[in-house]
Amino acid sequence: MLPNFSQYIGGALPKDQQFEVLHLQSIPVESHPIITAPYGITDLSSLTIKTQHFFTFFKDERTIFGFEVYVYILLKKDNPTESERLLFISKADTTGYINSKISIKQLTKRIISYLLSIDPNHYLQKVIPLKRNYGSQKDSMITKSTSTLQSLHLLALRNSMNSTYLKPYVDDNQIHFLSFRCPSNIVTKISLFTRPSPQYLFSKSSNNPNKHVLNGFDLMKWWINIIDDTIIENFQSNTIAKLLIPGEDYNSISRNLSNLKYVNWNVGTIFGQNREDLAVYSVPLFPDDPKSRFLHHLVADSRAKSTNLETFWTELQGRQEFCSGETVSVIGISGILNYQQYYNPDPNEIVIPSSKKQFEYIKSYITGEEYDTEEGAFESYMNIRDFVTDRLNASLIEIIGSREFNSTNSGSLQNLQASGDTDYQRKHSTEITTLQPRKKQKKNY
């Protein structure tokens, strides 16, 4: 039997110490394809399903670490075995408010492995369609296209005495949601974009002197080691692994690949083959991603049809949103997992808000806080704890660490191999990650 979330993640956390975790997951939604198709061409045989995961870790009533990942399932309806899964690692960040030694690197690796171990079918059971057809219920339902006035009339009808005009029966698995199946061992890709930033999720946390901020080069190394271990531990040996550092030549990029454990690392990206290909049809669109912003910019500039991949990467590096001279990189892998068995998460280990709105609402208790003082880390914890218990009737997941100091992996999920990591001494507040800082959300405190 597979270990559950707490046991598995506990294996990355220091022995006998207690942590709490909020694992938010959005309801899977049908989405437009992440790679843009030429105008007028629609691939009716595939479907893209997008799900967001947002993990927040707490220790001693403080928010300490956050991790955001999007999982896309590209479902091939005619040939489900050719479906693909893509993990886009969006953001990871620490607040720096923790007093015990913890390897954020180990933790990050474990979360990625946990996500990889989830059966892709987990995301396919109840999918919100891109466009709903309300069918015969159109006039009796209150939907997002019902006006205030219409809604009031419907509510009046529903409340009237002797009325048989009750709230329409909404069947989860009927017309309002989609449901699919695909094999569990489909091709899995991981994609991330590393760029240094003082903070990604925790506004003003860089003002905390205990938070250690990595420069662009170290950040890239940090991530590439995680992904390298992830391949060794989870993927089959024919996995494609690519690194691209916009603005650097082939040789200097390869130098970064020489000491890795996995032998098949190459220069390049997993999206787009030829440098002459148009970027707009090769580069994926991800949420809150500099590459995607740049694509939109090219379209607005009427340059989408004339910018090839080579120009795209060169110009991207020079974009204003990057600190000049800092290394940014694109890491991507693609392969089949070496798992015999896939995991079906227990409902108790995931909080699935009822709407995207509620998801953002809960998340903003974390990301809307200011972390220049410890009070922010405390306030966000209190708000999340109270909200989850009072409003969602749920609770945070408690995790007791089981990792011996200097030990290698304990409590492993399926066939983890020893990774022989040596980074355990890394200071608690390692600041890591991929993406740009968000504009601070309008939030008080």
Binding site: V170, V280, V299, A304, K442, Y445
Partner: protein
């Protein structure tokens, strides 16, 4: 030409300045007209709303921004708000009147009027650009819930200890702290108290019915969300 400064262009600028002043006056007049027109409808609406149980509870838990102003633990009391009304003296002077239902052994039923005023901001060297208006308010007396005793600023005896300071601040940040907000002691009061006043008077109160109906959608996942993101499809059509 004579030596007076009446060249056509400077005359024009002076003319524009006059127009600006006139426009401001007219805008005020429109505001007052607006109020006169809407007040009777609001009065009627307030009366009707009082017949819908849990109306404000639903509106307030529906509203994203509102939650940003308060602590999650406050919802227990927010859920007990029976009514919110605005009593305008004129467009710049108004009371926000909030009626709470009681919670046995914790919190008394009470109706609190918070007096608010929009004023023209004093000249300041601040970097703020176009903010010319400012909101101030008067402290209102509200009985805090017993469960908040440990963070009730009036009950904290030693505000100099670390624990005391922390609890004091927690109290000030709670919804009950907002009733004490005046706008005159920046940094020491409920944070963004003016924002919360504005939210109530310019958004929550006028559009409460819309928020209520939005919360009644039959498919919960359709709760509206205005968030946009860069992964939206590219608009390649030409």
């Amino acid at each position: 030409m004579s030596s007076n400064e009446e060249d056509p262009i400077s005359k024009a600028f002076l003319g524009l300045a006059e127009c600006e002043i006139e426009t401001n006056k007219v805008e005020k007049k429109i505001e007052e007209y607006r109020l006169t027109q809407l007040k009777p409808i609001y009065t009627k609406r307030d009366e009707i709303i009082s017949n819908i149980p849990g109306f404000w509870k639903i509106v307030l838990s529906q509203h994203n921004d509102f939650a940003n102003y308060i602590r999650a633990s406050d919802f227990k009391y927010i859920d007990n708000i029976e009514s919110i009304k605005i009593d305008w003296i004129n467009s710049n002077n108004f009371h926000i009147i909030i009626k709470f239902q009681g919670i046995r052994d914790d919190f008394p039923e009470q109706t609190i009027a918070k007096k608010c005023q929009r004023i023209i901001k004093e000249e300041s060297d601040d970097l703020d650009e176009d903010i010319e208006e400012q909101i101030i308010s008067e402290k209102s007396e509200i009985v805090w819930p017993k469960s908040y005793n440990h963070i009730n600023p009036e009950l904290i005896e030693d505000k100099t200890t670390k624990e005391g300071k922390k609890n004091y601040r927690m109290g000030m940040k709670s919804f009950f702290g907002w009733f004490k907000w005046t706008g005159l002691k920046p940094g020491k009061e409920f944070p963004h108290g003016d924002g919360l006043i504005q939210l109530i008077v310019d958004d929550l109160y006028p559009y409460c019915v819309r928020y209520y109906t939005e919360a009644q959608r039959d498919l919960a996942d359709e709760a509206s969300d205005s968030g946009s993101s860069e992964d939206e499809p590219l608009d390649l059509q030409e």
